[in-house]
């Protein structure tokens, strides 16, 4: 009696364990933003300046690589354009279009540190006429050095009076060490 039970049990265990297993599929993290490139094109002949943050390992241990290609010139009006990429995919996915399609649910914010005398203005807006910010203008009125922080909020309150009351969730935040000559 006992023996039979034991045999039955062992058989059952073997049946259960004998199923083979496939390797799991690799997840494509389409939503990920790894890279933000801000190109500042001057209205005069001086060269354009690129601000970039790149975090290829997402929430992995490596910190984002933040670069500023050069110094800004005071008194010059710059046209800013933001491009967001997901470089974990090849070819890299352009996420900017997604953000522009869902313009009502997104907004970029520009926070200028105290060492800088920079003002920004939104150049593109959602269908309700509230700012989006993938296109903007920037002017530095005097020389200086400090941090300029760019934040992308998802589902902020719109309209708002700035980051303080915008709420929503941060999709992106990068601080650039900017020098104005």
């Amino acid at each position: 009696m006992k023996k039979n039970i034991l045999y039955a049990f062992i058989t059952l265990c073997l049946v259960i364990t004998s199923c083979s297993k496939d390797e799991p599929d690799h997840v494509h993290e389409h939503e990920l933003i790894t890279t933000m490139t801000i190109t500042l094109t001057p209205s005069d002949a001086s060269g354009s300046v690129t601000l970039q943050t790149q975090d290829l390992d997402g929430d992995g241990p490596n910190a984002p690589d933040v670069t500023v290609s050069g110094n800004l010139k005071s008194g010059v009006l710059y046209n800013g354009a933001i491009v967001l990429l997901n470089e974990t995919e090849s070819p890299a996915e352009n996420v900017t279009m997604e953000i522009e399609e869902e313009d009502k649910e997104h907004q970029f914010f520009f926070t200028v540190g105290s060492g800088l005398d920079i003002t920004t203005e939104y150049l593109n807006f959602d269908s309700d006429g509230n700012p989006l910010g993938t296109k903007f203008s920037l002017i530095a009125r005097s020389a200086g050095n400090g941090l300029m922080t760019v934040t992308l909020r998802h589902e902020p309150k719109k309209p708002n009076s700035g980051l303080e009351d915008a709420g929503g969730g941060t999709d992106l935040e990068a601080s650039f060490n900017v020098t104005v000559e």
Partner: protein, 799 residues
Amino acid sequence: MIKKIIVLLFLLSNITYSQNCNYTFSGKVIDLHDGSPLIGAIIISSNSDVLVQTDINGNFNITNLCEKTYVFNVSHPSCESRTYDIKISKNISKNLILEHHIEELNEVSVFGKSNDEKSKTLIENKISVETIDNYNSGSLGDILKNISGISSFNTGNTIIKPIINGLHSSRVVIINKGVKMEDQEWGTEHAPNIDINSIESLKLVKGAGLLEYSGDAIGGIIIAEASKVEKKDSLYGKTILSNSTNGRGSTISSRLTKTYSNGWYGSIQTTYKRYGDFESADYVLSNTGTQEKNFSFRSGMDKYTHGFELYISNFDNETGILKASHLHSAQEQLRGINSSKPLIIDNFTYDINAPKQTYTHTLARFKGYKFYNNFGKLNFQYDFQRNRRFEYDIRRSAYKNLPSIDLNLKTHSVKFDLLSSLSSNLNLKIGILGRYQNNYPNPRTGVKRIIPDYDKFDLGFYSILDYLLNNNLTIESGVRFDYTHMDVFKFYNVSLWNSRNYDKKYSNLVLEEYNNQILINSKLNFSNLSATIGTRYNLKNNSKILFNYSLASRVPNPSELFSEGLHHSAARIELGDLSFKSELGHKLTFTYSYDGKKTSLSINPYANLIDNFILIEPTTIQQTIRGSFQVWEYRQTNAQLLGLDFDLKYKVNQKFNLENQFSLVKGYDVTLDEALINMPPVSIKNQIIYNNSKSNNLKLSFQSEYVFKQNEFPNNDFTVFIPQTERFELVELSTPPKAYQLLNFNSSIDLNIFKKTKMNLTFRINNLLNTSYRNYLNRLRYYSHELGRNFTLNIKFNY
């Protein structure tokens, strides 16, 4: 067995009639389950004037019997009565067997009076059916808090995990209708997937001593059972409707049971629950609504000598997570913590939006038993569980309606056990268990999987021996061995894999590399030993002393081993460790209990020393493109939990009762010489109860609950750079909230308006004074206060 009796009866009946009234019939009345003698059982004959009672050893001796067939009715307060037809034609000796029914528990008893004890040397805490019915709109965690030493770890107000003497999640084993729940209990924001309306008997043991269920219950075991059905032709049911003002919702649950005198029975039960946003004392807790749809079915046959039962249940829940708690970075965390109320407060709604969880737990269980003469009771059980869990975050564009977490956990278990009475005072229980589990995290989420794909195999053996040395002293001992094999496939970030030196230690596990990710296959084996030994000594004056030592071993769970990445709902990066060993807990429990006419009390000090205790704590701050995140890493240490639970009941007179509960637990990380995180603060509960059984069983009670501030905690505060202020600011995550006191009112009355239907009304006010408070053991305590005042009206029909 039955055949033998028939043959015996047949032989006996052939003896010729002659009126001789000198025969004796003697024997013992014993318990069907463990063969223990039943003291004070009454044997009465319906066709003569025999009336005897069993003595202290369960023996009876009926003299002066004539030669005829007697009909003896055998009864015992805690058993189902049974009738025996005994043909007397000579002196006979025979044991009469009774089976105890599970008392339809009428009161909250924390003094383990039942004969149906799971452990002989650990106090069992029971929750009455009345209390379960009363809380039918709540959760398992809500109900269990009525027991001293039990608190809960909450995520908001609907996701509630029981804490037993300071421990929770994987360290608390839940046995639901004999099945060990496999419902992804590892996560602190994963509530037990049980409909409390499917439970008719609820017990809790604050220790690992119940080796027949598991060897890894370092915290304790919760046992939820269905009630025993009576063997008679009957159809009965129960319907409870509960309405609450807070959450503006209702719960309705119904159960219908059909029983037959031949032992067959069937029962169906269903629950529907719907609540909108709950409210704190001052504001709406936006997106905290919940919805639940459950059913269960049970059918079987129960003869005294054999029986079987099929049980099927489905639990389906959707719960919103406080919208203001869904944060994306440490900067946002700071914003949330510094705000005196949630950052998002919308108008009340029944809608449940992301962030939210939905989960479905399906359970199917078949069990059977058979008694073998001189051998014992053999039990067999097979069960299947499927746990589907989805977590929805606030996502972008095409992924809006896709869950971020999609898990499918399937478990099959097979179990045999044998209960045998080796002699009248020595019982042996042995068993063998096999389990197969598969977890499938669906890649369609487009989010990196935190919990990996895995197959897990468990094989366990156990043996439990209890020995009644004399009437006052019982010794119990048990030993269990468990073997666990895990076969895991997991993707890691290459950068993380290398930063933890896994590329050197575990390079042999790597299967493939994709871009920035690496696929590994890890095969882990654990061999665990668990054991228990204890004694119970009954003292003369209605008091007893219990002492128990239990050794429990727990295999690290998948989240502790493999977590790697951003845990969105906690706004932190969590990292497991592949090298973890099993946790080993030594728990010493001492209980003194006294059960007098006016006073009952129980004092229960304990010490739980845990080697390789796995805890998670913050180590560093990590920069990502989304902002800064605190990194929480699991590590193993040696921990020590010391505590005391105290219960006192005093009967002032026929109508008034006073009750007091006190719980204290201190947790230390011995290795680092600091306090353990998330230990329940000291709490005191006092209750005054008025009960007038003459006027419709009217009950009124006032309860005060005082929870102290937790003064012992590790400091995990950190600073983060805020661009707006251009300063590093302190994120105060560690500081526990202030002490608070809550007042609750409860009233209940029975109304017999209908002939066959009993009606019971209960009216309850929780947080009577609408106190605004925060709870240290709520993960969302930084972002919102606890619930405000709540009026609940329950209407119950028993028919």
